[in-house]
């Protein structure tokens, strides 16, 4: 479903990504791991269009998406959550998700019908599926950090993506919240047939739910393999141990 080949991205003299390769098959759950500064978020930004790659290919369902804007990439079925919480703080929780749903239903230009009455069921069911429906009327900026991260995911889901990219979805969460969130992600993948690409620092999570792991180090892809093989790989061990 998603293929990244030899992607390079530099900022002036700094090579943030210097040869990234990634393959994500349909329905898979794939994780990207690597020490801080390895270029994971940059890679995600390149995939979803916030940044333009210098060279290399990014193919989504066979189509080259490297030059497209985030808006176009989203319309093709890619959803994204962000590492730093990126919600709409002044809107309600319901409103946050509704924005995505309305966009998906191409109703964002609708001028005269009250938004409260549109796409209510869909938005509510989304909120329910992530466990936030009782907080629907709260202003998003007042939610706890963990809830805001979940809201992030809900917003991304509002577009009914086929590929969901999650950038450190459990960053800053407590252990209970973390396992609940990862359980949620797995559940969503199964019930909605989503393909999931995520990156994380918590290795337990990664190794427990990812079917394939890609390891990045200093902007390069080291390997991409099944979890057991990654665990046993010497280069990976060196990269991580070397950083400690």
């Amino acid at each position: 479903m998603l293929q990244v080949e030899g992607v390079v991205k530099s900022f002036d003299d700094f090579k943030a990504v210097s040869g990234a390769n990634l393959v994500v098959g349909q329905g898979e759950i794939v994780a990207v791991i690597g020490p801080n500064g390895a270029g994971k978020t940059t890679l995600f930004n390149l995939i979803t269009g916030q940044l333009r790659r210098d060279s290399g290919k990014i193919l989504f369902k066979g189509e080259d998406i490297s030059g497209l804007t985030p808006y176009e990439i989203c319309r093709r079925g890619v959803g994204r959550s962000f590492q730093i919480v990126n919600i709409f703080p002044r809107l309600t929780v319901f409103g946050n998700v509704q924005v995505a749903v309305l966009s998906q239903q191409r109703r964002s230009y609708n001028l005269f019908r009250p938004a409260q009455n549109i796409a209510v069921e869909k938005t509510q069911s989304l909120l329910e599926s992530v466990g936030l429906w009782d907080k629907g009327k709260n202003v998003a900026g007042s939610l706890s950090h963990g809830d805001q991260k979940i809201l992030e995911i809900a917003i991304a889901l509002g577009n009914e993506p086929q590929l969901l990219i999650l950038d450190e979805p459990t960053a800053g969460m407590s252990p209970e919240e973390t396992s609940a969130t990862m359980g949620l992600i797995q559940h969503l993948a199964h019930t909605r047939g989503l393909t999931i690409l995520f990156c994380e620092h918590d290795m337990e999570i990664v190794f427990s739910i990812a079917q394939s792991i890609m390891v990045m180090h200093q902007g390069r892809t080291l390997i991409q393999e099944k979890p057991e093989e990654v665990r046993a790989n010497k280069e990976v061990q060196e990269a991580y141990l070397g950083e400690e």
Partner: protein, 315 residues
């Protein structure tokens, strides 16, 4: 679902406004009508600034375009006045579309400064083209049809148009479009990532806002029977900005309050001193330091603490 309590108050207030011309002196009727016109102008700006997060720094241009369109149609053609009433907002919206199309390609400060540039060009043309627009004298003695010839009838006409416009603006703000616009204000990048074509929505908002600004311009002519280049001057643009800030730009009715306060103060203060501009400047500084959410925002903060918590972003 419109909440019944505020609606009740609004209705009562409206009825009072309807009765007023028969009980208060002429001068107050005039001031009220002026407040109505200015309110519509401020509300139209706030759609873009408060709800859309755009740096619409030269909104007055569209006000002026609407006003001058009507003025020119009445004085230079013999078309019925209704054509002018419709042409005013339409011309303003067209100007909004043209200028907006250029500005929307840029963000924030660049947007604002480009708009000042383009707007000033329009102002300069109006200011210098003596033979067509009357130059810096403007156009005076614009004839209104008999049903609008008295102050009272103008008052009612303006009030009706204002109320209709407010209802429309309210509907728009509560619609999916309005929600999307506010989302764009809060986080344009997230919107793009969610499949929203940010620029197109912003341009649509500009179209709507400039349409209503042009409408306000038309109403100005109905009230004053004249136009002058100051209507397009950048100082007025910033004054409207201040009105929105004063009233509270994240609220619906804030700009109306801001307009009312500003016009009243200007009239009242103007009787005692000719240095209203300085007073306005001092008020603005006080606002910036002590009341950045505006008057209405401040009161909302007291009565709705949860909403205030969410206001961590911006200002």
């Amino acid at each position: 679902m419109i909440h019944s309590k505020p609606l009740g108050w609004a209705l009562a207030f409206f009825i009072i406004l309807l009765i007023l011309p028969s009980i208060v002196p002429r001068f107050f009727v005039y001031i009220l009508a002026l407040i109505f016109v200015t309110s519509l102008l401020a509300m139209s700006l706030n759609l873009l600034v408060g709800h859309g997060g755009m740096f619409q720094f030269h909104h007055a241009v569209f006000y002026g375009v609407g006003a001058y369109t009507l003025a020119l149609m009445v004085t230079k053609t013999s078309l019925p006045i209704w054509v002018g009433f419709v042409a005013g907002p339409l011309m303003a919206a067209m100007a909004g579309l043209i200028i907006g199309w250029f500005c929307v390609r840029l963000t924030q400060l660049y947007f604002g400064m480009l708009q000042i540039s383009l707007g000033s060009l329009v102002w300069a043309v109006v200011f210098r083209w003596y033979s067509f627009t009357g130059g810096d004298d403007g156009i005076h003695g614009i004839r209104m049809p008999p049903f609008l010839s008295s102050l009272t009838s103008s008052y009612y006409f303006i009030l009706i148009i204002l109320v209709i416009s407010l209802i429309l603006l309210y509907l728009i703000l509560k619609s999916p479009f309005g929600n999307t616009l506010q989302a764009i204000r809060d986080n344009p990048d997230r919107c793009a990532a969610v499949g929203i074509h940010v620029r197109r929505h912003q341009l649509t908002a500009i179209l709507i806002a400039t349409f209503f600004a042009g409408m306000a311009g038309v109403l100005f002519v109905v009230l004053e029977h004249s136009v002058f280049p100051d209507l397009l001057f950048w100082v007025l643009s910033l004054e409207i900005f201040i009105m929105c800030l004063l009233g509270g730009w994240f609220t619906f009715g804030g700009p109306i309050l801001g307009a009312a306060i500003t016009v009243s103060l200007r009239t009242f203060v103007g009787k005692y001193t000719e240095y209203w501009t300085m007073i306005l400047g001092i008020i603005l500084i006080l606002l910036i330091f002590f009341l950045p959410e505006g008057v209405m925002g401040y009161f909302q903060g007291i009565f709705k603490p949860r909403a205030k918590e969410g206001a961590q972003r911006r200002m």
